[in-house]
Symmetry: C2
Subunit: 277 residues, 2 copies
């Protein structure tokens, strides 16, 4: 999907909501669980009921892989059901040497028609480049994540490359270096960055580093991040945000009317978002 | 697989060779390509012909995912064909927030019977812990990789956590910090680290940091790393190495007798390894 189309959809719907389909067979309503295509049925009902309130769906590949090849087939069927109007994200956290990343890009951009895939930066440039070589496809690179473990490496202070034994010290976090370096490999039409909603204190700084890029922000809802704070600190004139909620929406209800309850939570997010435009 | 069993297999075979099944449908012999189960046939023939010379197989998930759910099924069938005597690695470079990493662990340790999965460290402790909670299963965490991009972040010099505005400087690379920090989360029976064969200059240093851990070493053969140098610098009394070759072995031949040609290259690696014991 082209950046302009994404922005247009956001403005039409007055929503920058992404619904995360982290569909766990053990958490969906009991009356669906025994059906052979339970996950797909659940996802289709959630998509039907929430699509007016969101602009994007994010598929967390782990939950599908836990079901093996059957789960992978459920993912394929789910993605093909998502309307063309919606930005389709494979939350897969992939990346490997270039030769292998090319295969991941093929998996998510050709074999399945995702618009974007989340990518881990540790292995550097050649592990990310293959995802940037497609028209209107996106790499969404991990910047500062929402989890506790973000403190372990992402928040380490880094310096220069230690050339000639002399450390050229720059007081910046690893995640900042990742944002600066990776953003030089692509542009605002093929790169986004993941910033967790729980990282309130860093949002202003991140917008200074990336004034225009879209940020994918997980961690509202179940993980406790504040939609208001994120929006205040990170919205741009071209929006520049996709805010994801997964469990808070898809597991809002557990009975026969689960999809209506999911829709109601999605609608509440959209309503709040509409006030920030 | 328990560490003792792996060491025993290595000593019996006088081999620490891992064969990488990076099976690309477009690179396997022409006479197989049109068959419906081409990838599985190819893999089974390679396994049959190389299993006496290696102790491990490494499945590069990207090449299977590029074929969609059908590819994932080929991976499942391939893994179930690998003998119990061989250490089975999912080279998947996964990791996400804890809740999601648990699903990946389930995918590779329960739904499919891998012994180990490769894991990216960027997201920190809770993204790795779920892989360490299984008996006789392993996380193989990226340390210093074999690709050019390793210089971008893995070789950055890092300092302290910047607490109270004061940087406590330690002149070490990010990858060294990863080895030290991650190794404190597990033990020599559930953690290995990836170190690329092309990183000759760092092997002695890595052995100082991790005197006993197994290292998974890709990058010999096609990528140019030297088996002799690695073995000289990193072998321990309990071996502590799995050296992987993928393309150099599985694509050694392209005709009807491809599996014999693969076996010959695997045999040559084993022969050389036997001289380093």
């Amino acid at each position: 999907m082209h950046r302009n189309k994404l922005i247009e959809q956001i403005k039409i719907k007055r929503s920058y909501l992404c619904v995360g389909l982290d569909t766990d067979i053990n958490k969906i309503p009991v009356h669906l669980r025994s059906l052979p295509d339970a996950v797909v049925r659940f996802n289709k009902a959630i998509i039907d009921s929430t699509k007016d309130y969101c602009v994007s769906y994010k598929i967390n590949t782990a939950f599908y892989e836990a079901q093996g090849s059957k789960g992978w087939a459920s993912m394929e069927e789910t993605v093909s059901y998502i309307p063309d109007s919606h930005f389709k994200i494979a939350d897969a956290k992939r990346a490997d040497i270039g030769n292998t990343s090319s295969q991941y890009a093929r998996a998510f951009f050709e074999t399945i028609n995702f618009d974007a895939v989340t990518v881990a930066p540790y292995m550097g440039e050649d592990s990310i480049r293959p995802f940037l070589e497609y028209n209107d496809k996106w790499a969404i690179v991990l910047g500062l994540t929402s989890n506790q473990g973000a403190a372990d490496f992402e928040m380490l202070k880094v310096g220069g490359k230690g050339i000639a034994g002399r450390l050229e010290l720059q007081e910046e976090y690893l995640y900042e270096r990742v944002l600066k370096t990776v953003s030089s490999w692509g542009n605002q039409g093929n790169l986004m960055f993941v910033v967790g909603a729980t990282q309130d204190a860093e949002f202003e700084n991140i917008r200074n580093i990336l004034p225009e890029h879209f940020l994918l922000v997980p961690g509202v809802g179940f993980q406790g991040g504040s939609l208001g704070n994120i929006s205040k600190n990170a919205l741009t004139s071209e929006i520049g945000l996709l805010v994801n909620a997964s469990r808070a929406i898809i597991y809002a209800g557990s009975g026969e009317n689960f999809s209506e309850e999911a829709a109601e939570i999605a609608r509440q997010y959209q309503q709040e978002m509409s006030t920030y435009f």
